[in-house]
Symmetry: C2
Subunit: 226 residues, 2 copies
DNA sequence: CGGAATATTGATCAAGATCAAAGCGAGTGG
DNA sequence: CCACTCGCTTTGATCTTGATCAATATTCCG
């Protein structure tokens, strides 16, 4: 509501990334960020847990974060990966409905929620920013729903394109493990691994090592993805 | 953000339903609804389409609505079913990212978006209501993501429980077809039909006819749904 | 009543899961 | 420096779930 930027990054609401789509997006928390403090989290450290009071809003300064939920049958469902510039943990309820962990050693900007609330109550611009934040998150989750009805190969390609969407580089280093990817795509680790291999065989990507991916033919990938 | 009701209906942001969880939820558009006009839509009529300017916000007065997207491969993905009391079509961008159709003959309250925007800009209470609306929608879509990684039987049961969540009645008349259900659950019509049959065989439900479902043993269902 | 749309049921197929066995790489200690 | 180990990844063989193809059955309406 209220004129909001319609542009969206596919990998999350992200700011301060190179190739940012002009100033229109900007940082939704710009006026607030000054109030936050940076905190280091080491690999696999929990940032917040499900059912904990949602006292803070977070922004990835460096590193990477996964937000997830443990399902009734014990499986882990990863909701999203958050990279540098992404805001996460912004939930309107009193309690977090997700857990968050650092995927690698990360620096996270932590902002008190009450501070944001207070500011939003007075400053309409801030309130609008929050709405935009949530709107972009909504679109991201909707994309995730769409992803989950596609084939394994389509999911993996979509994931790769999403990870490089804001990034013209052809090569990337994935911060997350195969298991993380599998839990995000709703596949098994074996299927993810096999799909990576078959994409390499098809000359669409190169895998110098398990964490490194070179998109050799983005066009071919896009075609396969659909 | 800002003290919001944490209660949520599983089937959407819904108001004016019996057993409403106290006054805390209320109608998020209460002050605004007066500005809207009721319009009738007949079965399968389009309410709005993807890419159309998002000029209005909608609320189901009676009947049922499906919001959906057509995927690149031509399949239809149903995003949500909206029943009486549900608000839909509230998208922050300039254009709709989904299409909406009446599932059965329906009466829809149509409210001009600019009117809501204007009010929200002045009245913080209204702005907060919009945020709550979007937050509940976000949670609904997150539930949908979770649904799509479960087995066929779990998805169908989850759907049935969702359709009756706000409703203590054991019997319900589904407004939507098997195809609609299949496109919502990411299954084929055959699998949905077979799962319904097997649940009937297992004495968990009764199917007097294809649109009518009687939940014979809600406990058993919940257990099967895992 | 007839015909079209929708739903059910059956038979087979295929994508991805599961079970199982290497392969690889980074860190550790001899 | 090299062997060893542990965790992660890849690859292989087989099985299961749900898709697909196909044939009725039912319902809805004109």
């Amino acid at each position: 509501m209220l004129p909001l930027p319609t542009t969206q990054t596919t990998a999350g609401y992200r700011t301060e990334r190179r190739n940012a789509p002009a100033a229109s997006v900007g940082s939704p928390l710009n006026p607030i960020e000054l109030m936050g403090a940076q905190m280091p989290f080491s690999r696999d450290a929990e940032i917040f847990g499900e059912k904990e009071p949602a006292e803070y809003i977070y922004k990835v300064v460096s590193g990477a974060v996964r937000t997830y939920r443990i399902l009734a049958d014990g499986r882990r469902q990863i909701q999203a990966f958050h990279l540098a510039g992404d805001v996460f943990g912004f939930e309107p309820g009193e309690e977090h409905t997700l857990s968050a962990e650092a995927i690698v050693d990360s620096r996270i900007l932590v902002i008190k929620r009450t501070a944001v609330e207070a500011l939003a109550a007075r400053d309409n611009q801030v309130a609008r920013g929050l709405l935009a934040l949530m709107a972009r998150e909504l679109q991201r989750v909707q994309r995730h729903v769409t992803l989950l009805v596609m084939t394994a190969q389509e999911r993996v390609i979509d994931f790769l394109l999403e990870m490089t969407a804001c990034d013209p580089e052809k090569a990337l280093t994935l911060p997350m493990s195969r298991q993380d990817i599998a839990d995000y795509l709703g596949l098994t680790i074996e299927t993810v691994s096999r799909t990576f291999s078959s994409l390499e065989t098809a000359a669409a990507i190169e895998l110098p090592n398990s964490r490194r991916v070179v998109l050799r033919d983005r066009e071919a990938l896009s075609r396969l993805a659909n």
